[in-house]
Subunit: 310 residues, 2 copies
Amino acid sequence: MHGNSSPDDKLEALPFGPFDPAQDRTLELGLRRWVHDQTGLDLGYVEQLYTFGDRNRDPMESEGGPRVISVAYLAFVRESRLSGAGNALWRDWYYFLPWEDWRSGRPAMIDEVIFPALRQWVRRARDSASRRESTERCDIAFGCGEALWTPERVLERYELLYEVGLAEESERDNQRKKMQPLGPKAVHERGDMSGQGLGCSMAFDYRRILATALGRLRGKVKYRPVVFELLPAAFTLSQLQRVLEALAGARLHKQNFRRLVETGGLVEGTGRMDVQTGGRPAEIFRFRREVLRERPAPGVGLPGLAIRQI
Amino acid sequence: MHGNSSPDDKLEALPFGPFDPAQDRTLELGLRRWVHDQTGLDLGYVEQLYTFGDRNRDPMESEGGPRVISVAYLAFVRESRLSGAGNALWRDWYYFLPWEDWRSGRPAMIDEVIFPALRQWVRRARDSASRRESTERCDIAFGCGEALWTPERVLERYELLYEVGLAEESERDNQRKKMQPLGPKAVHERGDMSGQGLGCSMAFDYRRILATALGRLRGKVKYRPVVFELLPAAFTLSQLQRVLEALAGARLHKQNFRRLVETGGLVEGTGRMDVQTGGRPAEIFRFRREVLRERPAPGVGLPGLAIRQI
DNA sequence: GTAATAGTGTCTTTCAGACAGTATGAC
DNA sequence: GTCATACTGTCTGAAAGACACTATTAC
């Protein structure tokens, strides 16, 4: 979700609100309250993500502003409800993290922009030890060499792109804190990557938060049936597959997927049929709550998620 | 780890410290600094856990004290280093959560104390809908009925015990906030469970934090090689198995465990042998870092972890 | 008929989970 | 020898991953 109460109007931002200890019994209730106040929406599934408190995450801090600590939450909202909800509007998250979307094949920017930049960055490392370490980091994050592309390493990838200078934010943040000494991690000399920014940048460290959320969700979907929070009570297997593919950012093998969720006891068919959409009518399925008792970690152990395309 | 800077001296507590935005660039660096200042320890592996901010988690709040927000972290410290480290001392976490330790079989207290209390609690539910819901919660958390005992549901179990009144903390907290209206979740009438407290209680909501940590670690160990942060660089497979069993709170099948970690590429043998400990000498193994590239989620998919004993 | 979507059957390989058994030390 | 720990071999059944194939709609 997107709220445009951002510092300057051009920047994309996540919705945020204050926490008022006097008013809200818990952090989560506080979240629900201000989301409701700002947008009229009542959140369903909500999960605490991570607490961000790095220095200068709010650029105003370098001009004497206070340190801002944000407790980030991940929440689901049905797209249909969003129209006319305050000043929030809908955004595909791959608009901000386009390299994460492999649904129509491996994104070209990975080979054309990211890999060259990573190689250049590795070459600029101070010594051979840090060069080796950097190579390993790149390999694991982006699945170079023998390594596989692992969908849930979203944050590792974003942080690498940020360090390399492929995220507009890194350029912006650097201008603001140029008086600050470099941390121990900055073992690379700075290169000029301006204009190479990938995906739409966001205010503050919001893109990092978004990356945290996507990574967490991709991981969680495997051992908890969170997908069903994103679907109506009744759905077809194709719908379920499309939602999972949107989360995973990859295509799934249709037949195996069907078998996985059906024989895995995650869903059950109702006898009913879907209204036609240009093909054979699909059966309507529903989530089998009982699976929570039967299996210790009921999720979709996404088949062939490690890179293989359909 | 245990720090005794607790409100009254009798209560067990987790170590904690203030966050000083002026001094610390990040929350994690702040953590490392005050742990060092208080105990002289330099933390190794550190992971942010969860941020706790419920009303009255600090009992002083009901007497006009401020709302305390705690960003909890999980960190590893080698036991040997702990002797004489400030006023911190070592505690087995099963001292606080004894029902979580199945290493010497199913703890008797589950059948003798917990199940009767849960059944009584379910019976006291207002209506049949909430009774059904409560039954399902108990089944899933504690593996009753057809459900399996799932080691990582530590927090769900603790919260249930707290609600049921089997945690001393719930009695204590209730006395302090008796003027407060009941939340929507309190659909059960209150029973008298005093004196039935299970495990050692802790100050504030620290036992909830501990339960969060154990649950998270049990989950994480399956898809990230965190175990090796708890072991020296060289170890025997038996040592590795013992550490994993301590985390999982369950016995693992020895032969399958060996095969799993060896053929899974998680460890590799050095030719060297261990000093004898009353049996055939064991080979010394080490962690194979390369596994991070080879497998998307390299961890120990703990074999037979779902209840089965050796 | 074609195009498009939905759904079935089956084969192979891999691996978890269990079995029993052997090897090398201390005593 | 016994006891204790370390390690090996193998069987079985359940899945993952891939194959080809049939079914029902709209046009």
